[in-house]
Amino acid sequence: MATFKIKRYNPEKQAEPYFEDFDLDIPAGSTLLDCINLIKWTQDGSLTYRMSCRSAICGSCAVKANGHAVLACQKQAASLLKKDGTIQIEPLGNMKPIKDLAVDFTPFWDKINKVKPYLQTHDNVPEKERKQSPEQFKLIDDSSTCIMCGACYSDCNVLEVDDNFLGPAALAKAQRFVGDSRDGKTLERVTELSEPGGIWDCTHCGECVERCPKPAEPFYRIKEIMAVALEQGVHNNNGARHALSFAKSIKHSGRLNENQIPVESVGYFNIKGLIELIPIGLRMLLKRKIPPIIHKSIDDVQDVKRIFKELDQ
């Protein structure tokens, strides 16, 4: 017998959410969604959640299980059972709950809309199909598998502190067009995506890759956009400058020059940005956290340079 600890919330009845326990024998081979359905249909019809296809393609049924977002129809319930015989089920994070496990997806879709999620072409419409090689198809194959389930959005660590961040799903959707050989707005796209709230605000924690139920794996898509942005010369922003300064420092000395990177990231001619660095610098000085003024190379720096050279080729 397993105990499903389900977070209940019905603002018509109580102001605050609470956990309710439901005991259930997990039938062999059941998914988490099968179990939630059994609870609804045999124990409490008022339990509210979304679901539809039950074959991991419609993206309706994402919830948090034991603290992490999962697609309920894709997970075997037995695999989620904790040692104490419980499974904790909560609504997705970073979105407001409406009732029980159903959350308000409005901000999620608003952000998808912001990345201009549609093909924009320059050329005239040909009579037949536009040509695209299998290799070019491959560049957008993974991002196109996204089912908009919101699992990545729920567990994104940046969104938890910054509502302005577009979030992993919208950025993966953006890569779907940045990487599309048929799209004619690559430069405009990567320029917009390099603005605050875009690709450079991702902290590379990789949580979205862990949570993604499909091969879309947003962080890898974000990295692909970053590469295109740098290739296209979209450097005039803190994120790109930071990435370039980072690489330059490693290439030069094999280690980070932590005094130089912040300055290069905000830009040498960005007076306002540079002034804003001063209080942090002073605090670091007082706490004796300032890195050595004279930056030394590591002993094997020649090896690092060789690696860079090979990469360049």
Binding site: G29, C58, Q74, E129, Q132, D141, S144
Partner: protein, 569 residues
Amino acid sequence: MIKHDVVIIGAGLAGMRAALEVSKELDVALLTKVYPSRSHSGAAQGGIAAALGNSEPDSWEEHMYDTVKGGDFLNDQDAVEEYVKSAPRIIYELEHMGCIFSRTPEGKIAQRSFGGHSKPRACFSADRTGHAILHALHEQLMKKSENVKIYNEWYMHSLITEGNRCNGVVVSDIRTGAVEVMQARAVIFCTGGYGRVFKITTNAFASTADGVMAAFNAGVPMEDPEFVQFHPSGLYRQGILFSEAARGEGGYLLNGKGERFMEKYAPSRMELAPRDIVARAEQSEIDEGRGVDGKDYIHLDLRHLGEARIMERLPQIRQLGIDFISVDCVKDPLPIQPTAHYSMGGIPTDKFGQVVLDDKGTKMEGFFAAGECACVSVHGANRLGTNSLLDATVFGQRSGKSALEYARTVDFAKVNEGREKTRVLKLFEDIFQRKGTESYNEIRDAMKEEMMKNCGVFRDEGKLKICVDNIKKLQTRFKNGKVTDKGKLFNTEIYEIIELGNMLKMAEIIAVGALARNESRGGHHRTDYPKRDDDHFLKHTLVYPSGEDLEIKYKPVVITKHQPAERTY
């Protein structure tokens, strides 16, 4: 009262394609009980048919013949001809919108083989073609959002008609429970299928006959309801779809003895015979004790394709096997069984998506339908794989165009808002007030079990009579059901109950249609009448409401190029 020029119910392929068409000029409401990207069109895997000839020479004539033969000659051939002729253009148009397709080495849209098609004609995006098209259309709607208002998580209850004219729909907001009348110059139904009446089905929980029953309740007949397609490769016990593309790419079907049993049933096409034939072959093997380990499943074997091919062409299939039954098809065969998949029948329409009420072509003015909920009929008695995405897209576009042309010419008709709203409010109130003890879940399970057992792959008079009786008993029990959630906010229970009510009527209509058709044709197989009977049944069934009962009429099949011939593969 909410007012829109055109109201479209359902936001799958047909609904969104129709919305794009109408929104060129008029204001559109697109209403879905889920979200557009959650529509069940997205679950289609294998492909969309068009005679592009990208890998072998092909023609619309061959596509037409394959479709008519696959449909066991019950298709209306005038509609089939226009449908297959428009296929290439509609595919190119999707590609121009941005839909992604797997490609040939030269960069053209790749095409693969599919059951019943004599040429490799399935355009595909790996094994998630429906998903690719659904999202491409959704993207277009996000781009042109000003003319289209999308009502996410709204439910359509009834059609408002006055005489033979449709004036709108009554709907409710699932999140708040608020009932609203939506007045329209024209209404398009794109509400999908009703596979959920069966125990084993590929269909989503949302595929519950809402649209067809709303039409039926307004006096519109159901055409050919007895023709339900069982897909040969549903995951054992769950029914989840494993695309026919698995066989298109070269997969084998093996019985318990390890034999490729299709040799006995369709020696020339083998695993790529049409679905009705393969599903019956599987069921025969199982019924005759040659299932795997004597159980009620057989094997889909992909091992010889190799990991590279599977990862390129069938990655989702592989993942589904791993996630749902811990079987990696690279190493082991997949256990499968026939699963209810597609309704060939539906709301009768002409080839422009206009709903028609009888054999004379009498129109329900202002009412259009497209996609699985409609019966044009381009699929006849059995649909070929990859022809449904094409149907949804072609007739989505056509019904949109027809609705646009109609809506331009008429004004809003008067709607008695109070009366229409009260009817639906009473429906809610009636369910809330029930003091019964019956579990809706048990009624639903009993219906699904009944339909699978007595109205499934193999039918006969005895079974069907029992089926009709039992479904009627369930309809009575349904009125004595027990409801637990009486709140307004996001009450999914009440909507499940309403859906069950629709499905119980739908189940009866399917069984009654099947009982009346004393022959075997395409997806409808009667063991007591194992042969096709063109003398008596080369005609479409029309089931009408008649008080509490049903009345059956027929209408002729349109035959133009291909006279019915023996159907062998």
